[in-house]
């Protein structure tokens, strides 16, 4: 597997300019002769499809939802970072770059991250021009806030719905191109396989989810922007439909999968209320600016109403353990601390399966200090959301929170041009691995999705088409028939699953294995155990699962779900292999064997300063490891400390 990252030479601040000059161009009159297949219509896919069409390429865009506007980017709340330095507080491209590499715990590629920081400023310009209603000051300029512990105010936001507004901006740009006939949008269409011709990505097999028909699409390049794989845990803040299938099928066709064990857990989510729970809801972590996190000091008190527990009997564990950062320690530290107190038996709230997995986030002091109105102005919409879901008012009783899976930093390996190890297959947004290392900073996901789609792929894909592209291919090529036959065989197998056990049952059980052994904290013994349990569960799935309905040629949501869960049941193993191999703690990957006496993560830079890229070897076979070493020439390797 060739892992040449193709990082341009020269000083880091000149690399992208130099590279853009060196990239070969496609003649404007020839662009219309190329068809680009874009899978996914979120921030990355939607912006890429629109921009490529503006340039003159013919674009076919696919999404499994009923409209591109439903992509899960829509649910991002907090904001989007950009090194505009509008607040004159010392921000710069270099500082955003530095913070992102450091925040990622030194497991990302410097050159990619620098470019991300560079183009961040263009994103804001573009979105404002599209009519995105960002928050503004009374003088009419854009408002910013500090987010996720950043020392500068570089986050742009649109109330608590920034993802929605940015996505609707990209959706509008996409709609304009659909109206012009340059993008053909295929909704309720799921990509089920990648077609390779002479080793290059030249097509797709998709399923029309309404008619059930398989379709072949030939193109000159493929752009995959299909999001993350957090739903391998069943319970996550992802949308119910979010899945790994498109990425995983590409992996099976030879694309390297990088750092799959890097998953992010968000500390402020609404806890599970029962065994039927179908998903978790995140609340902006800005809540930690004013809320105080605590549990009872005594295990006898965990079932009591919080109001009955006197001040002296409350354990403000973050404030006590991290006196200088207190409740504002980073996401991973706050999450692990919550898990620890709950595992030790101090968790509060409803008992589900014999455990109480929640801690209090208490606003009583803030309300006393600043008044109810001030707190309502800051968090009113979040308090309403919490009340709607939990039935309790945070003005009266402390919120209950618990960490939940939120984002996956790992993804398909890409080079500087965002091309995977399969020539012609480009991967954008959360689906690739490149920019966030082992931990993503708040407000950086929206930035990366739009950077990749608006400002990177439109340049780099032209170079591929102008230099490596190997001539016309149509869907009559035998590779299409062959791949379609393989897809059909798998679907037939799925639709014939006629046991008694619903698909969700398997998904839930897989989620429990992954959360227990490959979740917030991992150890070798647990991961080895998971690697035993997953194949057994997979076998049971193929023996006992039930897919309602008998035909693959009709709308069947359970068949769709079964295909995705079957892929998660294979993919989960790679995650565990990766977590087991990475014998260090870094960012979202916390190996219990590698921690300080105070429970802080211990990185092992001498041995693990690389990206782990896994190559498919067959179902149930250990994947083959390849390494991309990371060099840190600009950001000094340091240990994070929040004491």
């Amino acid at each position: 597997m060739d892992l040449d990252a193709k990082i341009p030479s020269g000083p880091i601040d000149k690399k992208w300019d130099k590279h853009r000059f060196e990239l070969k161009l496609v003649n404007p009159a020839n662009k219309r002769k190329y068809t680009i297949l874009v899978v996914g219509s979120g921030l990355a896919g939607g912006s890429a499809a629109a921009t490529l069409a503006e340039l003159g390429y013919d674009v076919e865009c696919f999404c499994f939802q009923d409209s591109p506007r439903r992509a899960h980017s829509i649910a991002a709340q907090g904001g989007i970072n950009a090194a505009k330095n509008y607040q004159n507080d010392g921000d710069s491209v270099y500082r955003l770059f530095y913070d992102t590499v450091k925040g990622g715990d030194f497991r990302s590629r410097e050159a990619n991250v620098y470019r991300l920081a560079q183009v961040s400023v263009n994103i804001i310009d573009q979105c404002v021009a599209q009519g995105v209603p960002f928050a503004r000051e009374y003088g009419g300029t854009l408002a910013n806030r500090s987010f996720g512990g950043a020392q500068v105010s570089r986050t742009f936001y649109a109330r608590g719905q920034t993802g929605q507004q940015l996505l609707l901006g990209a959706y509008a740009a996409l709609n304009r191109q659909v109206g012009r006939g340059k993008v053909r949008m295929h909704t309720r269409t799921e990509m089920l396989d990648l077609v390779l011709v002479d080793g290059h990505a030249r097509g797709l097999i998709t399923r029309d989810l309404v008619s059930g028909q398989l379709e072949r699409w030939a193109g000159d390049a493929v752009v995959l922007a299909t999001g993350g794989y957090g739903n391998v845990f069943f319970l996550s803040t992802n949308a119910k439909g979010s899945n790994v299938t498109a990425s995983y099928r590409c992996y099976k066709r030879g694309a390297g999968f990088a750092n799959p064990c890097f998953t992010q857990i968000h500390p402020t989510c609404i806890p599970v209320s029962g065994g039927y729970q179908s998903k978790l809801t995140l609340m902006s972590e800005s809540l930690r600016n004013d809320g105080r996190v605590w549990v009872p000091r005594s295990k006898e008190d965990v079932g009591k109403a919080p109001g009955q527990i006197p001040e002296g009997e409350r354990y403000y564990y973050l404030e006590e353990r991290y006196p200088s950062f207190g409740n504002l320690v980073p996401r991973d530290v706050a999450s692990r601390a919550a898990k620890k107190v709950c595992d030790d038996g101090y968790g509060v709230g409803v008992e589900v399966d014999g455990v109480r997995n929640a801690v209090y986030l208490d606003f009583a002091d803030a309300i006393r200090r600043d008044g109810r109105q001030a707190i309502s102005d800051r968090y009113g919409n979040l308090f309403d959301m919490y009340e709607r879901i939990s039935g309790e008012s945070p003005y009266e009783v402390p919120m209950r929170i618990y960490p939940a899976v939120h984002y996956t930093m790992g993804g398909l390996w890409v080079d500087y041009n965002l091309m995977s190890t399969v020539p012609g297959l480009h991967v954008l947004g959360e689906a690739n691995f490149s920019d966030h290392g082992a931990n993503r900073l708040g407000a950086s996901a929206l930035m990366q999705g739009l950077a990749d789609g608006y400002f990177v792929i439109p340049y780099t894909i032209g170079h591929y088409l102008a230099t490596q592209h190997a001539g016309d291919v149509t869907a009559d090529h035998p590779a299409f028939a062959q791949t379609e036959a393989e897809v059909r065989e798998r679907i037939d197998r799925l639709v014939n699953l006629s046991g008694d056990v619903p698909i969700d049952d398997f998904h839930r059980r897989l989620g429990r294995i992954m959360w227990e052994y490959c979740g917030m904290a991992r150890n070798a013994k647990g991961l080895e155990h998971a690697l035993q349990q997953i194949p057994a569960l997979r076998e049971e799935f193929w023996a006992n699962a039930r897919v309602p309905g008998s035909s693959a040629s009709e709308l069947n949501p359970w068949l769709e779900k079964a295909g995705r869960v079957a892929d998660f049941l294979e993919f989960a193993e790679i995650m565990c292999h990766d977590a087991l191999h990475r014998d260090e703690s870094c960012g979202g990957h916390f190996r219990e064997e590698h921690q300080t006496e105070e429970g802080e993560a211990v990185r092992r830079d001498d041995e693990f300063a690389f990206g782990s890229v896994w190559e498919y070897q067959g179902v149930g076979q250990s994947p083959k490891l390849h390494k991309e070493p990371f060099a840190f020439e600009h950001v000094k390797l340091t240990t994070r400390s929040y004491k």
């Binding site: 503006e54 659909v178 119910k240 029962g274």
Partner: protein, 256 residues
């Protein structure tokens, strides 16, 4: 809670369907969709007794923002709680409103000529996208934008634009309207862009093109029932329709 769900069942591609009733035990803490999940699990496990299979319904984010969920619950799109999508509605809301064990909750798809039923509770809302294709955008190509702070926009205007831009495109407004009109949906987009300086250049054309696409899709016109505003999960005001009508008038005058 012991619930009798009376649910619309319609086969793939069938011209119509029928109601079927199912008894199911759910918890107050469940969201409405989780209650349907529990029902479906029951229908799958007892497949011999229920040859019609589980109930198909649209859903995705389950946090009130993607706009995918689309059920009419006891005659009201998204159910009894104002400002709330189906996925964020919880069963305790029914208890709060006097639900007793054994009571019936009726569930139907969003019904409108322009939203054909695909199966059970799933409808095709592609018509909404096609209205947006006609003009729901500002024509600015990537790369041609001036600095974001080059054009100041007053806070009040920015906030108002946001209020309209908050539309999630679910279609509850259409399902609630006796005319199955999409005026609130179209008005929200037209108002969002007409408030902002960036949207001025294409202002008149946009309103005309979008309303013409709306008519072409088979949506009705507005006759001031205001049911749309009452059921909108994002509480978008019918001021959007007033603005839309004003924009149409303005465009008509300009065209002369």
């Amino acid at each position: 809670m012991k619930v009798k769900f009376k649910i619309w069942r319609q086969k793939n591609g069938a011209p119509s369907g029928e109601f079927k009733t199912y008894d199911v035990e759910v918890a107050e803490e469940m969201s409405f969709l989780e209650a349907i999940d529990v029902l479906n699990e029951q229908l799958i496990r007892n497949h011999d007794k229920y040859p019609e299979g589980p109930v198909a319904f649209d859903h995705d984010c389950r946090e009130g923002i993607c706009g995918m969920c689309s059920m009419v619950i006891d005659g009201v799109p998204h159910g009894p709680r104002p400002g709330t999508t189906t996925c964020q509605l919880h069963m305790r809301e029914f208890t709060r409103r006097g639900f007793r064990d054994g009571d019936t909750i009726t569930v139907e798809p969003f019904r409108a000529k322009a939203f054909p039923v695909l199966r059970d509770l799933m409808v095709d809302r592609g018509s909404f996208d096609r209205i947006q294709h006609a003009g729901g955008f500002i024509s600015v190509g990537t790369g041609s934008a001036p600095d974001a702070n080059a054009i100041p926009i007053g806070k009040a205007d920015a906030d108002q634009a946001f209020d309209y831009a908050a539309c999630i495109g679910c279609g509850a407004c259409v399902a609630a309207c006796p005319n199955a009109s999409a005026m609130l949906f179209v008005g929200a987009k037209v108002s969002h862009l007409s408030v902002l300086p960036q949207g001025q250049v294409e202002r008149s054309g946009r309103a005309l093109k979008m309303i013409s696409a709306m008519d072409g899709e088979g949506f009705g016109g507005c006759t001031n029932h205001q049911e749309c505003e009452a059921v909108c999960p994002k509480e978008i005001s019918t001021d959007a329709i007033i603005t839309l009508n004003r924009e149409l008038m303005r465009a008509a005058v300009q065209a002369r």
